[in-house]
Amino acid sequence: MTRFAKLLLGAALGLAVAAQAQAQSKGELHIYNWTDYTSPELVKKFSEETGIKVTVDTYDSNETLLAKLKSGAAGYDIAVASHDFVQILSREGLIQKIHAAKLQGYGNMETRWQNPAWDPGNEYSIPYDWGTTSFGYDTAVYTKPVDSLKTFYEPPAELKGKIGMFGSPTEVMSLALVYLGKPQCNSNPADLKAVSALLEKQKPFVKLYNSDGIQDRMAAGETVAHQVWSGDFRRARAQKASLKFLFAKEGGIAWMDNMVVPTHAPNVENAKLFMEFLLKPENSGLHSTFSGYPTAVKGAEKFTDQAVATAPEYLPPKDWKYTFAPSCDEKAIRAYDRIWTKLRQ
């Protein structure tokens, strides 16, 4: 029995070790990204050009990424993080400096995205793609003209139980703060009370709080309006032409997803190769076609599916204000958490 057990034990450990060894051999690249956010075609092209074997793992939120990196999950060479999390990850020492400005093709990036506020000098990160957050609604069901976020935060009776909101506290708070005209990362008691009261009052009109499956709900008509990312909404509109993305007079939220290199990444050079690869307009266009979001690379739109490149969701009015919500300090986060649990208690 013991010999038998040893044999089995050995076999099992062998499997584990084999899997481990495989992860660390040369010529590999491990990408950690959101589900459905990495173009298989792009990965294939990269592998063919460089001979590097690419593996993609997926996560469901920035918070999972942070928790995983904090817990010491190793082996990822590139992770994709939103701009506010780039700040957190670098402050926590979980990602390493890559001096992206020295990468070949850095100049291909539009100047407005070089040297961003969340990562001065692009020391840690390079843009992946970007989008805006607002509300989208079905003009066939809600036929009145909409120019303000008021329609969805203080909705008319006909929208009762028909609105979808995001499922993450920070994103719900940041757009609510834009509507109220208050600064982001707020810990001013009066403002927090105002946000809390606004969301409490909105709740009877909200069908659900969930950031996933929005395309599906909007296309199927299960929600009439939804807080939504521009690209997600474009996909929904492709299925239902009466959908419209709102560029509200109060403004909106913008975000940038970025490629970063975790501190203990085994294949830093391959990670940089992949970044340089994505800085080429033709590859950036390929990525944009798949993800459905614009990238920061000049000329990428020429290589992007025109349905994406010319989508109305990406063409805001010239004077439309958008805010990149920064990462907030503990005080604001704690307050957001309070509002969020109170809202759903």
């Binding site: 918070e63 942070l66 659900l208 008509g221 299960e222 704690r334 958490d337 309070r338």
Partner: protein, 292 residues
């Protein structure tokens, strides 16, 4: 078999579960007495703040005030898990008795059919109900097709949908232990009772129920405990409108960035479950034994 050999045989399982399950729970216990770091994780000094927070939280002005929110979430989870347990019991008891009354071959088949869904991925079983209950789902389509309704009924994203999902997930856990106690009931007792003109209700109340109580208790624990911390049903079927303990724990470890508080709630849930287990173990057979 001597004692040493017994211990050696038991050791691998005990060590595995002990090190990788019991110890992590102790680590969580330790974390619950620490202070949160700004971006998740814990730091010194030790503090009971996480436990205080369950009742007294800072309001927006930074003043400690009595906060019923977390109590409400815990209470709702307990009520929902309790309702799940009761509903499972109401279906499982007669079902188990019905199976016991069948001829042996049929018994095996029925038990097999009842326990089979348990082995299918919970995620997929919960997802099935999304397909059925959504506005564009089968049930609403059928009703609309029959002309019974004009507007789709809001079946999904409410407590009822969560309850349904929980009952669906945990029902087999209730049938099996009850069956295994009912199966051992001596038929002669029942026949004697009938001979003495006992009604069906009386037979149930005086014979079946008392004899099945250990099975009911085991089933209740096996349903109540996982239902209390369930995460999938509230997430997929509840639409996040109301928090339950499972989602609250997850929230505190992720966007809430308050690991000590998340740990404290996890500790509370685990402690409640462990106490229930101990009480049962003292009363007689363990839950695991009856599930087997």
């Amino acid at each position: 078999m001597n004692r040493l050999r017994s211990l050696l045989l038991l050791a691998p399982s005990m060590l595995t579960i002990g090190i990788f399950m019991a110890v992590p729970m102790l680590v969580a216990l330790a974390y619950s007495f620490m202070t949160s770091s700004p971006y998740g994780g814990v730091q010194m000094p030790f503090s009971v703040g996480a436990y205080v927070q369950m009742l007294y939280d800072e309001d927006f002005d930074g003043v400690q005030v009595f906060t019923p929110d977390y109590l409400m979430i815990i209470l709702r989870s307990v009520v929902l898990a309790g309702l799940t347990t009761l509903a499972c019991l109401a279906v499982a008891f007669p079902a188990a008795w019905f199976i016991v009354c069948r001829p042996p071959r049929q018994r095996q088949l029925l038990l097999f059919l009842v326990s089979l869904p348990f082995w299918i991925n919970t995620l997929i079983r919960t997802y099935c109900w999304v397909l059925l209950l959504r506005d564009e789902g089968l049930i609403n389509h059928l009703f609309e097709g029959a002309g019974a309704i004009d507007e789709p009924l809001p079946l999904l994203y409410n407590d009822g949908a969560i309850l349904l999902g929980l009952i669906y997930t945990f029902l087999p856990f209730m049938v099996l232990p009850i069956y295994s106690t009912l199966e051992r009931v001596d038929h002669r007792l029942i026949e004697a009772a009938y001979d003495l003109y006992a009604s069906r209700r009386l037979v149930f109340r005086r014979i079946l129920w008392p004899l099945a109580r250990p099975g009911v208790a085991a089933g209740a624990l096996l349903v109540f405990a996982p239902a209390l911390g369930s995460f999938l049903a509230p997430d997929l079927l509840g639409g996040g409108r109301k928090l339950l303990i499972g989602s609250l724990i997850q929230l505190e470890f992720t966007s809430g960035r308050n690991w000590p508080f998340g740990s404290a709630i996890a500790v509370l849930v685990s402690a409640a479950v462990l106490i229930a287990m101990l009480v049962q173990a003292r009363r007689g057979r363990s839950a695991a034994e009856l599930a087997a």
